[in-house]
Amino acid sequence: MKNSWTGGQAALATAGSVENLALAVHRSEPGAFERLIDRFEAPLFSYAESVLQNRFDAQEVVQDALLRAHRALTRQYDEARCEALALRPWLFRTVRNLSLNKRRSKRSKLEQPLDDFDDGRMGPFVHLEGSDLERKQEVELLRRAIALLPVDARELIVLRFMEEMSYGEIARTIGSSEAALRGKVFRSLKLLREALEKKGVNYAV
């Protein structure tokens, strides 16, 4: 059997250090909030961008979410609650709620053709070590295929494979059971594979 465990271990490795950050911010320890921003800004942005498909909105949402988080941790939650808080799912859930709110209000304002990705937004963000053109194109195809997925599949793919969350954490983030999530993630992956196959990419790596 060919195995690939890296994702799980990475997810486990970050869990420990994250716990105390909520408490540190609650206690207003110097630099605690900066550390929280350093740790979470980029992942939260990736996630918000995947839901909103707009980096300006995504940045706005992330900023709002981090500010709300700071307020909640320092002013609303007591010591015990901060200590017991699962920070990562909590932050992602905040971003999720804000993103979905924003998406809803935007969509009601103007009917955005969300299935049209070819507007140059995807362009400047590709960071690749190798200059292998073929590989670059493949990555771009993957990005576009993900962008074409329905929003719930898209966010699951991002949470599970980009952010490498455990099923337990995803369950707490989006409010679902782990068993149901396994099925949902599987179906999202299936959709992604189908989209890739349509583009002529067989992800057999």
Binding site: S28, I37, Q59, V139, F186
Partner: protein
Amino acid sequence: MRCRSALTRVDALRTRELSQDERGEVESHLKTCKSCDDSLHDVGGLAAAIKALAIAPPRSCKDTLCREVVDSFDRVEAGGREVWVAFAEGGIRMITARSIDDLRARYAKRYGRDLQRAEIPAALKREVAAALAGEGVGKPHVDLGEASELETAVMRALGSIPVGEVRTYSWVAQQVGRPKAVRAVASFCARNVVPFVVPCHRVVPTGGGVGEYAYGSDMKRDLLAREGVDVDALDALAREGVRYVGSRTTKIYCFPTCRDARRIREENRVPFRGASEAAQKGFRPCQRCRPVAAA
């Protein structure tokens, strides 16, 4: 186990998130089913490719956010006292005579922000220094953030007590339109986050005397004395049960420390134990210190 249930568990197996039993079942299925085993590897590869797609925000919001959650503090020394003052663009936000740690802790609790040392603007510094020196501050630049309506009103009423005079807690309660909320008002005075500048020390118990103070009643006596209040005379009046004084010539009665009361000549001075006593004798309340408010 059938392929369908094996496939939905392949990803969880990859990250060791299955229970012992489930894991055994899935693994034994994978041994017999080539396509499901391939799928496990496939998921692994796809996961790695997707992870590489993560993007960073075009510009970090760290600076903006940190500015949103950090305010400044400085030390101000005047009138033989030193205090720690927290301030933001809106004005003075908190003052303590205790320590930086006390300031930091209470500031975080009330405003949810950190503090870092910075030079206090000259205008704010003047206000704090004047308050400490007993000169009084006309209209201090104070920023209490999201203060409640009652707290804001209490602070405004406190600010309206002139230098060198004192009022009672019930007077403040009357001023804010909540005559029965004397206790609530008194607790806002006690929790005043900008003491000295907003003169909570100018409020005394209705029963007389100087009363309690966050930094001890000795400090309160000292502050009042600096502002020109005859603290010993207040004590003497309290012992006699005198709350107001009137003038025989004008038939007006005042708080004893009212600037108009202080001008009354000794031979024309009439002490009163209460507003009703004064009213019975045909006196009217002073319109400047408004003693009837504290009836």
